[in-house]
Subunit: 255 residues, 4 copies
Amino acid sequence: MDELDIDVVADVELDDPVLIEGLPGVGHVGSLVAEHLLEEFEAESTLVRRIYSTAFPPQVSVEDGVASLTCTEVYAVTETGGEDLLVFTGDHQAQHGDGHYMLAEAFLDVAESFDVSQCYALGGVPTGELIESYDVIGAVTDESMIDDLEDAGVEFREDEPAGGIVGVSGLLLGLGVRRGVDAACLMGETSGYLVDPKSARAVLSVLETRLGFDVEYDSLDERAEEMEAVMGKIREMESQASMDVPSDDDLRYIG
Amino acid sequence: MDELDIDVVADVELDDPVLIEGLPGVGHVGSLVAEHLLEEFEAESTLVRRIYSTAFPPQVSVEDGVASLTCTEVYAVTETGGEDLLVFTGDHQAQHGDGHYMLAEAFLDVAESFDVSQCYALGGVPTGELIESYDVIGAVTDESMIDDLEDAGVEFREDEPAGGIVGVSGLLLGLGVRRGVDAACLMGETSGYLVDPKSARAVLSVLETRLGFDVEYDSLDERAEEMEAVMGKIREMESQASMDVPSDDDLRYIG
Amino acid sequence: MDELDIDVVADVELDDPVLIEGLPGVGHVGSLVAEHLLEEFEAESTLVRRIYSTAFPPQVSVEDGVASLTCTEVYAVTETGGEDLLVFTGDHQAQHGDGHYMLAEAFLDVAESFDVSQCYALGGVPTGELIESYDVIGAVTDESMIDDLEDAGVEFREDEPAGGIVGVSGLLLGLGVRRGVDAACLMGETSGYLVDPKSARAVLSVLETRLGFDVEYDSLDERAEEMEAVMGKIREMESQASMDVPSDDDLRYIG
Amino acid sequence: MDELDIDVVADVELDDPVLIEGLPGVGHVGSLVAEHLLEEFEAESTLVRRIYSTAFPPQVSVEDGVASLTCTEVYAVTETGGEDLLVFTGDHQAQHGDGHYMLAEAFLDVAESFDVSQCYALGGVPTGELIESYDVIGAVTDESMIDDLEDAGVEFREDEPAGGIVGVSGLLLGLGVRRGVDAACLMGETSGYLVDPKSARAVLSVLETRLGFDVEYDSLDERAEEMEAVMGKIREMESQASMDVPSDDDLRYIG
């Protein structure tokens, strides 16, 4: 295998498709969104590419006893009711800095071969505390994109995310702009401690508005309820701990 | 030296040989099996290749004062009573992700030059607790291989191994399937805390059934008894600890 | 993107310019100096190059919602009242050893294309304790440069910095000398615990003397005062701690 | 700079020279020996090569204010009273596994250009405890070399060093044998906690016997006395600690 191998699984005609990148990251927000889209549009989705790389962890995943090599899968989604989509998803990010650059370029190469001119990199932004209201923070390659995204509910803040955007999501913007691709990163706020379906829902809602499709949220809401139960227990433990020494933080969380 | 150097030590005619990979890993299960096979078939084994790589640790091992560079050794084994074997063994895995990919490809290159069409990657799967009954978990490149392996006692479980298979064993499956090689990974259950000859015996027993040879287990049983003594001490310590506060775990182990 | 990409943003005629390198490091001394120069000479500065590399962290920074890929920016500064300058600045150093070498060579390539023959690499040298008097320690590529720098207040000490100079600043000297570039490293003493505008001022003062320009210090002094407040609190805490067991160290700091 | 740059500083005719490698490592035994040889034979030594590499740490050392890039220096030593020497010394080993392989090959390339046919890699082997008697452990590329080295006082032990030999010293043997170079590693026993001039002396004494030269030990003995003072304090502290609970270990050390 070369350090990068792109398998052509199928070819599908897409009409001015929009790239959606949802790899694992903070709160698994990006991958939850990508997986949910592929679940909801299962009948309309076709696996078109598999991207293998020696920059991925040297491992296979096993499902029902059958092993498959770590890769990024690319799905073409048509007849969404809105824009056609090209969805990038998988179980792993690259393992080192050079690999992140190589994979982001590979993603943009595939995007180019499908004439993608618009790109959404999805992720989570950690707040460090349990949250009630799920804002979506944005970053773009060009200032002119901000207004439309603000209309769809995205917030742009002067100094956020403070540490910049790390990994393939950041590079899709950083390298995309150098190729003339308009790219936005949508980051759902999330505590950062748990897989966060609610944050994923907030991001999905922005995509619906921007891209003109509608999806059901049942399965995502179910996962959210499971997580809610976990979070309930955490709050309970915090509440008991605060019996002895109540603090501002406890009041904010439980209030 | 190039990043990969394959020394041809000897050439042996093999009849449709089966690749056996047993490099160090969890519980040293894979390397115990490979070493035991080479011990039992000493008279029938020929060292045919040495695979050197800058991806191995930069070190030599020393035996009776003579140094030898870290490598993977490949032995051809004939007249086993069953299938001919091509056994890969050594003291080290690659040191980084890219190196794992490079070595797995090199193993498959050597296999191809001997017309191997079937491959067993051996390893251990950690259970995190001392165990009584040594199951062997399987993973395969193609669903069609499952029935025969189940007949030989291998278990296939929906979500195991949970984290996938890491290292050269996983990659022999992940990269093998891309070259048309049927590959299975046999993972002996093991606590993960100790070198585990009993787990190795369970894996060997599957290989006997599948590949039609018979081996003695005396030396392996001896090592198992030594380990049993160690485990006995561990149980004793647990038992004493549980005098004060008995727990479910203690009951399960000692019962 | 290649492992190194140098974007030509503009070209400016410079008269025998002096390279100033101020990347992040101990006490952020180097980057404070570079930023302050660009602030003070804003009207006289032109962004001429952006140096991108896969050796940088795989990330974008975000300002007012707009993302930009990690890079080193190179500014041409004219009409300083003294020498023309070529200032290298940015948010990140390379992530690994090989990358440091690659970037330092790239810096020297850019310098060569502007006919730079003199180079100042800026940084901090950690003393491990809060300090009152900010000396600037020097290192050079050729003994003949020492006298002039000593006249400008730089100190050369037998065994300092003890551990040598790590990162791009050190390599500009180590690789520069192999290309016939006279290079000096100016290291402001700093505790190493805090961003240190006072140490930056000491280094700037040497540059003023050597390169014949004058800059205002207001904004740097403001930052120094903010830091002074932080340091004041640290001293206070030390003072309280020393109530119980006064030590030589406390006396030295507080005196 | 390329990943490897070998500067030819001078060329010296050598008569069947012996390679001596003494880079930093356990107890700094190897580098102490190399430095002592160059000190004692100062008048007979000529710097012939500098080996630069991006695998070294990205740093310069500074002496009297003048910076020099990390490298391995190679000295030709003639008129020793015994064999001519080619001594490899420097402040750093490679920073990663691939780099160790690259540098060891570079060392052997230089050795070949001087028609070296015999190689001594020097180092320390950690015992983990303070020691009284300084044995020298050996490892060789070919069994036939053992007798002569045993005659010179080197010990060859069945399972030592247990973990093999890591770094450039090990690779000079592992890669040397593949090029037809006879190589031995001489490892002075050392606690592993301190720079150990006594261990260096033991190794030097073997080299004297094997290579037919004589050196003074005054400067090495001075350093040994300084270290002895440090070790004395350690013993004292151990002794005091053992007042309360004497143990076998204490008895062994203090006797």
